[in-house]
Subunit: 346 residues, 2 copies
């Protein structure tokens, strides 16, 4: 992609990415960039056609931020959304893969096909409702929602559906971007020439923002704008982080330690089948399910008391989010501690 | 106010302030803080009652930011809002005062009374529509919208209307906070004991955020949340800025130079009645209207060529936004240059 727009945080990045998609979509509908008098007068009072009834299609379990636009595409936990007014935008099911993947190839392929069908149905339904889908937003791995993965095939097909229906395709890499999956961007694992129209980032990138194609550049100044538009001091820090990633080959390191971590989780899962299931991951971006929420919380606390900070995600998953300097010997240190903790929960 | 919530920018500050008002309002409606099962399930799919049809009342000409929630309360320029979906929220007229104020006391009092009546009508109307007003948001001076002022009486009455109807009262000081009006917060000019329930800030404060009353504290963690929740490094810078403001008595300085600036603008307005009108301001937060947009742009360019950076606001205003270290002798330097520029436009 040829363009980047910096912003201060992940929510602002996604809010502005959505705005870029809406502006792009409306200009495409018009066939030109000149708003009508009616557009200009109605938008001042929040009404169509100036403020059009467009929508963004998101996925159940997604997390894209907590400001009002983002929140309309976030569906991970009720506490994030409760009591905040929202938009009538379509929500598709995200594949729920069965593990181990190699045992459930057929079921998982069917599950993904079903979700893709739903996406197309929703696009058609919302167009008929008069609220066309301007863009589809998706995480390469649903992080906050429980570390939910889908296959590269799923994302390739979804990207094609977006193209077929004239929707922009927005890949939200706020959680997955920056190297922890073993590639700098998680969408690189899909092996596509044209994986997205817009890619947002934040967190590990130390600043927020989004990359986008030329055609998603707003046609006039002040349409995408903000007091600070990001923070140059964070960009300086980021430049040095990128240098270290290159110099120390951290992406290879992550791939190596991620493999050791996931293999270790597989082994523990075999050892503690009553507690652990669905070990999964890409690079060190790993997770595992715990039998129930109470056991999960007890494990999290006991691991913390032994000096290991783990986090929960979804209903009963534990997610592993080590820094990029997490090496193979750290993996073994961790697995020993984790084994001790699990042993106390048998 | 006893509490402050930092955020990264003005838009995020207002988005989260709105969320705090919605959460507060819904808990007030419930009579307790425990959401129903229906609340929890419907909010996940963007529907009522979990995502309730609540609204924020804003004013025509207002600017509160550019993310989707904020944008639904922004009504300053079409280019900010065009093509972005919005909410059906009530928009009240902001007083359009006639200048000089002392000649139009009666008209201006009537104008403000009329706007206040409209506010009450809208609150009732939106309640009947099933979209109750959870909060009223207003700038002490509408900045982006054209430096529109209202009297302390207006704000006092508005605050009472908010209280009477059970709406939170949110004063957006993103533009006016930080000292340029001669007080640290512009709402201090209203002389009230209880001027607001929530006050947002950004820009001059170097970081974003909002102050709020205890009762507007969200009742659970993660309801108001963000990856970074502001930036401690900016708070360090701000602490030093506040030290300088105190040490150098910059608020007194601003009051003094603001008076000189406004008197100078009055004099120029008398000298160039065909070009200038409606000189107005508080501290150095001043503005003046120009006969037409083309002349305004020509004046802005010519002033720039003489080393003075001025900005436009509203349809045909010029706004003055000097730094807090702008002293009386700077005012005279400026007025001489401005006089030269105006002389070229006679």
């Amino acid at each position: 992609m040829t363009r980047v727009q910096t912003m201060a945080c992940g929510s602002c990045s996604n809010e502005n990415a959505y705005k870029a998609m809406f502006i792009w979509y409306r200009n495409k509908e018009r066939g030109h960039n000149t708003p009508s008098g009616d557009d200009l007068s109605t938008c001042m009072i929040n009404q169509a056609p100036g403020c059009p009834e467009l929508s963004i299609l998101s996925f159940m379990g997604a997390f894209h931020g907590r400001t009002l636009g983002c929140l309309a595409t976030t569906h991970s936990k009720a506490i994030h959304k409760l009591d905040v007014p929202s938009f009538d935008w379509p929500i598709a099911p995200f594949p729920r893969l069965q593990y181990p993947l190699e045992e459930f190839t057929k079921e998982n392929t069917q599950e993904e096909a079903h979700c893709l069908e739903e996406v197309e149905d929703l696009i058609v339904k919302w167009r008929q409702k008069g609220k066309p889908v301007a863009g589809i937003v998706i995480e390469p791995i649903q992080a906050e929602g429980g570390d939910n993965h889908a296959s590269p095939d799923f994302f390739r097909s979804l990207r094609n559906i977006a193209r077929k229906h004239g929707c922009a395709f927005h890949v939200d890499e706020v959680q997955t971007g920056g190297g922890s999956t073993g590639k700098f961007w998680a969408h690189e694992h899909w092996g596509m020439d044209d994986p997205a129209d817009i890619v947002s980032f934040s967190k590990k990138l130390l600043t927020g923002g989004y990359f986008h194609k030329d055609e998603l550049q707003a046609d006039q100044p002040y349409r995408i704008f903000n007091t600070w538009m990001g923070d140059p001091s964070k960009n300086l820090l980021l430049a040095e982080v990128l240098n270290v990633i290159r110099r120390e080959n951290l992406l290879e390191e992550v791939t190596r330690s991620g493999k050791a971590l996931l293999n270790g989780l597989y082994a523990l899962q075999a050892q503690y089948p009553g507690i652990l299931s669905r070990a999964r991951g890409q690079g060190t971006f790993c997770a595992i399910d715990i039998c129930d929420d109470a056991t999960r919380n007890s494990i999290l606390l006991k691991a913390r008391d032994k000096g290991v900070l783990l986090g929960g995600c979804g209903d009963r998953s534990i997610r592993f989010r080590p820094a990029l300097v997490f090496k193979e010997y750290h993996v073994h240190l961790f697995l020993n501690i984790f084994n001790d903790v699990l042993n106390q929960h048998k």
